[in-house]
Structure formats: C-alpha cells, structure tokens
Symmetry: C2
Subunit: 169 residues, 2 copies
C-alpha cells in the first residue's frame, strides 16, 4: 500500500491539536541543520529542535555542496547565522561509486541514450570516510565566498545504532 494513503489520516490528528499557526517565517534560532535523507535520521527529536526554530536541509549524505542554493536563501533572506552539518554511520553514501551507480541506471534502461547522457552528468558525491566527509563539508562552508563570513559552522556524526551525536568540527 502506498504510504501517502495514510498521510491524511495521520495529519488530521496533528491538525486537531495544532497551535503553532502564529510562527513567523524566519527560524527563531537562526540555525541551519544539514543532514542526510536516511529514514533513521530525524533531526527534530534527535536534537530537540522545536517547530519554528531551524531550517533543515536534507540530501543524500547531508552534503554541504548540494545544499548551497538553500543555504544562500536561508542566510540572505531569512537571517540564519549558524550551520550544523550532520553525517551518520551506516550511510548509503559509503556503499557505492558514481561510476557504479551510473552503470546501474544505464543497465536498467539499455540503449536509452537520453538516460545515459543525463546520468553521466550527475556527480553523486559519494564518500568513503565518515569523519573526513564531515570535515571536508565544514571546510567547504568556511571557505565558500557565498557563505557569510560570520557563520558559526560545526560538524557532527550521528550514530544510527545508538541515537548519539558526536561533534567532529
């Protein structure tokens, strides 16, 4: 059964006790969380973030480079001044290479040149060392001229086995 068939039912319960309709657009803690799409990651409960407090950017890996468009919008239009990057243990990004994934996509649709051309243009940005990838992303943000100079930047690892966060940068 498609998951979306349950959304409305669950949402009706949420709406029945909703009292946060007054929250403003800019995040009250001026903070951006960058983290992975992984189904075991849930920043609000794992970090104690309340509704309205922080922007949450999520992409495969939790990669700063892929988050740059959103970070610029968040900082320049909505006043955030802090970025916390989280990568996590047992991440899918540790399990493949861009070449391998391109081949998987091509093999699933053999002879389709549109698929081959388009997937060859995508860098999937995999990594092979968790702590090194967090440090690389923090450095990317510190050095990037499009990120505001006065931004507080931290880097973290979340352990899906224990629920525990550890600061790396």
């Amino acid at each position: 059964m498609a998951a979306h068939l349950d959304f409305v039912k669950h949402n009706e319960k949420y709406v029945s006790s909703f009292d946060k309709g007054h929250l403003p657009l800019p995040p009250s803690k001026k903070c951006i969380i960058v983290t992975c799409i992984d189904a075991r990651v849930e920043p609000a409960s794992q970090l104690g973030i309340q509704l309205g407090e922080a922007h949450v950017i999520r992409n495969a890996g939790g990669l700063a480079e892929d988050a740059l468009r959103s970070i610029i919008i968040s900082q320049r239009l909505l006043g955030t001044r802090e970025i916390a990057v989280f990568h996590h243990t047992d991440c899918g990004m540790l399990t493949f290479s861009t070449d391998q994934l391109r081949q998987i996509v091509k093999d699933a649709d053999p002879g389709n040149t549109a698929v081959a051309d388009q997937v060859d243009k995508i860098d999937f940005l995999e990594f092979n060392n968790l702590e090194a990838s967090v440090k690389k992303d923090a450095a990317f943000l510190k050095d990037n001229p499009l990120v505001l100079k006065d931004t507080s930047i931290t880097g973290w690892v979340y352990a899906v086995e224990t629920g525990k966060v550890t600061q790396v940068v």
Copy 2:
C-alpha cells in the same frame, strides 16, 4: 547563544530512551518525501512518519529538480518506489526573484568578482504560484527519464497556519 550548544544536552535525553538501533538502511515504506527547509515544516509529526519508514529530502521550496541526485540514489540503491512532493503556504520561495537575490549577495560584498561570478551561476528556482509549483514538480518527476517508471508520484500543499495537508496531484 549558538543553537548547537543545546544539541548534546537534548540528544542525551533522546539516547537514554533510544530503542531503534536495529532499523535497516532501506526505508520500510519505500517512500520519499520531498519538502521545504522551512522551520515550520516537520514531516515526521505532520504526516505520522515513524523512524525507518521514509527518506526525507529537504531543500529551499521542496523542489524536485534540486532533489534529483538524492532521488536516484534512493530509488536505485535503496528500493523506494513512491515520491510525495510537499510545498507549503507562506513559503520564502514566493518572495523574491533570482535576479534580486543575486543582487543582494553582490551588494553585501561589493567588488568581489569571485562572489559575483559564482552567484550568477546559481538558479535559485523561486516560484510565484504554490499549487502550480507542486504540479510542475510532479510533472517533472513523471517525465524525467532518470526517475523509475513505476513510481507513485503525489503532490501536496502544507498549510503552516493550520497544520493541514491538501493533496493537489
């Protein structure tokens, strides 16, 4: 005070009652949620998604185009077969144009040609009609040759004023 100073304290409480260390990497409901970074959006509680059930991709606006790298990884390596796109009322993406934001970034660092060159390469992907942007994103996913043909695709609007979701596609 920087928000990250509270993360460890909140996380210690989360860890003390954590019992989900056994969850596997692939999402159990084979579902991807694409939604905005907005601080008032919190898909787990608003849609009733439990830990381990769904991938959550978040970028400014909740845009499918900007989510494509993550969607391919999710579908081809981790078995997801459903995508639900959520945009929301009072979204920051409705409030500016790419040209305006490029100018804001340049004005903050006048004469810096590296900044000007780099920001001019970024399309911030703003939109001016909420329902139309949801439909556009659902169509983008249906037509994109890199998205699997058998994917269930739905499109939704989340109302930050009431907490309510409405299906559009």
